[in-house]
Symmetry: C2
Subunit: 309 residues, 2 copies
């Protein structure tokens, strides 16, 4: 079975930046209220850019940062919850823009956990020797689904895109995944065509903590691996309260639970690859570090990947 | 690497049946015109049923026909091009309806080839030993996207759903896949949120013939397998002209190219699993028969699977 490694990362945030000040005025809030409640200082919003533009721009930034050639990419898998493009999917437009010749394209709707699903699917193709590399993109223009007057969601959610290029490597590297769905409370987080997004924050909080902590523990137990040996947990950036509580439940330092929520907000499927991009930019990761990616969200759907990078 | 086998199939067509007569009157057509042009006598349309209902009903019919227990299904992968449910996806509602406890859900947008993508992804998980079984569903309510006055599309397209249950088998069985995308002509078949479907039939015809024939030949060559040993080709049911031309280009009997177009029309992602269900119902297939599934459509995206059933 082939091993994989992450070889490049890129992110893109649209031009319009919305600071807390905007919402403080709109909703007549105390200056610190949003930050205390969410850990977020700003989020981004598309105006004249499509979800396809965001996916392409994240990939462009990846190419710029890492000087990689993506003309030979063999699979493009895009995860989203806010697409307009049912056929062709976003992945096909990425293939077209970069003039990639022989490639398999696919868009995935897996809730906010979609990037984990996409990563795992791409890795399976490489593990089985069907392809040698894959481009995985998480992208959202969730602002199109927001009710501007719904304080609970507008202060949290933002648009953005992140791209990750993975490749087969001859060196044997650890890779494990643990993905699961439970739709019992499917109604607590919904994005439907032509409707406004609905989110029951309290129920999401409870679900997110319970399931992710359980999931990470299962993953580590299966491998007989200790959290001490994990350099970082890279969680879906939902809100600071969830991440802090996850860290305390796992009995790890807050610092080990990477977060860029402050500057980006919650970008659903884009949040993990945007975070990864920042971590590489900040030189937080080096070859063979063990990290855990953990996604969770509407569906409900959640999943983790333990990998040596 | 684990082998897989198909263990159950089910299909569902909504209650409203639209005969050619309806269109003959509406568009003032000769009685035989539609059939000569498409090979289709009728297609189905949802009225008070959602895309989720269709997926659930196909699965119910599968359970009825095969008396299978799906409470232990470990993955549900749904392929569609006409969803309303971005988060949770259709697969999650199927999990919920059948009260499946531990399962991974995922919806896929891969054009009309989506069922092939979904099948291949599910098989990879089984091949790698991550799961033992998976439910694959192709489902469409494409009627929601049709312009009632667009003769080129309304006579072809219909709603429906098909479900396939695959399982790990100890017996070694042949499985190969060959999936590819080329978005150069991405504009010739489009489904976008809030817009009417667009299809350039002439260009689709040319693409479908060229790419599918090439793709099947590549697949057979890789395996050094002859078409003589293939019991059936089960193609995406686009229209009779395409299927007949594919058969003639491959130099095989028309009978070997299975078609149920006459009674069902083109149901995009649902067409292959609906066809498979009928083939099993008609006792056309027996254990260890080799068949080729071939999908193709908007993206453009196409792919084949050669398998011993």
């Amino acid at each position: 079975m082939n091993s994989i490694k992450i070889v490049a990362n890129g992110a893109y945030l649209p031009k319009i930046k919305i600071d807390n000040e905007y919402f403080n005025k709109k909703f007549n809030l105390d200056e610190e209220w949003i930050y205390r409640r969410t850990g977020i200082l700003c989020r981004y919003k598309t105006e004249n850019e499509s979800i396809i533009d965001l996916a392409i721009n994240a990939t462009k930034n990846m190419i710029k940062r890492y000087d990689v050639d993506i003309s030979t990419v063999e699979a493009i898998i895009v995860a989203t919850t806010s697409t307009q493009n049912f056929m062709p999917g976003i992945s096909f437009y990425v293939q077209k823009y970069f003039n990639i010749q022989k490639c398999m394209c696919l868009d995935i709707l897996g809730g906010c956990n979609g990037y984990i699903n996409a990563f795992d699917i791409a890795r399976n193709y490489i593990a089985l020797g069907k392809i040698d590399n894959a481009l995985i993109i998480g992208v959202e223009t969730i602002s199109n689904f927001l009710d501007e007057n719904d304080l609970n969601t507008v202060i949290l959610l933002g648009d953005g895109a992140g791209a990750t290029l993975i490749k087969k490597t001859e060196k044997e590297k650890l890779y494990m995944s643990n993905i699961c769905s439970d739709p019992t409370e499917s109604e607590i987080l919904k994005v439907e065509s032509g409707k406004k997004l609905f989110m029951d924050g309290k129920k999401i909080y409870k679900f997110a903590i319970t399931k992710t902590v359980e999931n990470i523990k299962e993953l580590l137990k299966e491998r007989n691996e200790s959290l001490e040996n994990i350099k970082y947990i890279v969680p879906h950036q939902s809100n600071a309260r969830i991440l802090n509580k996850m860290a305390s439940e796992l009995q790890i330092d807050k610092e080990k639970m990477y977060s860029n929520l402050k500057e980006v907000g919650n970008t659903f499927c884009a949040s993990i690859p945007i975070a990864l991009t920042q971590m590489y930019d900040e030189n937080l990761l080096k070859e063979d570090d063990k990290i855990i990616l953990i996604g969770y969200g509407g569906g409900l759907n959640w999943g983790s990947i333990l990998l040596e990078i």
